[in-house]
């Protein structure tokens, strides 16, 4: 690379080629929140939207999976 990637792309130096991209339904995530308050704190005023999306009433409690010791979104 002749420049740092961020500057390069911001200056329009990237190639225009078709993009193929995706992720997995249980993809990587590192969580450090130990409570729901901590989990949703980063979204600030969108907390109610986050709760509705991730922890809707009647859908059971949002809780860490057995594979994780901390919560993440």
């Amino acid at each position: 690379l002749l420049a740092d990637p961020e500057s390069f792309y911001l200056s329009g130096g990237g190639w225009y080629v078709p993009l193929f991209i995706g992720t997995n339904s249980l993809d990587l995530g590192f969580g450090f929140a130990q409570s729901k308050d901590a989990l949703f704190a980063p979204v600030g005023t969108d907390r109610s939207k986050a709760v509705a999306a991730y922890d809707p009433p009647g859908a059971g409690s949002c809780a860490p999976s057995s594979r994780q010791s901390r919560w993440t979104i």
């Binding site: 130096g13 080629v17 078709p18 993009l19 193929f20 992720t23 249980l26």
Partner: protein, 159 residues
């Protein structure tokens, strides 16, 4: 997960599509038949033996016909994209180009291949707002040069 991987992928697809670059997005939610009772979703990198259709080596005697079909379909889509810039192939379900307006991706699910609006849109939209606070605010662009225009034309892109 959404913050670190899934929304960023959707964001990249969205930015490219917004700049008239053909983009195709997928969600790999398929879990090998032998692992479904143990895994609530498809962990990172579990798509690899399906993309390369090496599932027989990966799952051995536990391989199911559904695993094989999924692997064969994925290999075909990936190879077709590498050849043409568009993953859609023959009689297989069409894979619409990604657009922020439609938010359609190809979901490789336990129920088969489904081209659908992102089922996680609500939660990803929340994450998108949050992470946008870290995004660069300016994006100066230069015009598409002749070589790039030719490449896009080769891939069937019409601006």
């Amino acid at each position: 997960m959404d913050h670190m991987m899934i929304e960023p992928a959707r964001f990249v697809a969205s930015v490219n599509a917004s700049e008239a670059v053909p983009a195709s997005e997928y969600r790999f939610s398929y879990v090998a038949g032998s692992l479904r009772s143990k895994l609530p979703g498809a962990p990172h990198a579990t798509e690899i033996p399906f993309v390369f259709d090496t599932v027989s080596a990966r799952y051995g005697k536990d391989l199911t016909p559904s695993d094989e079909r999924t692997a064969q379909a994925m290999l075909s889509y990936w190879v077709t994209f590498a050849k043409t810039g568009d993953p859609s192939i023959g009689d297989s379900p069409a894979w619409p180009r990604y657009s922020p307006a439609t938010d359609i991706l190809m979901n490789f699910s336990a129920d088969g291949l489904v081209a659908e609006a992102d089922p996680w849109k609500a939660r990803l939209d929340v994450i998108a707002v949050y992470v946008s606070g870290f995004a660069p605010t300016t994006s100066p662009k230069k015009p598409i040069d002749a070589m790039t225009a030719a490449r896009l034309k080769m891939f069937g892109h019409v601006s």
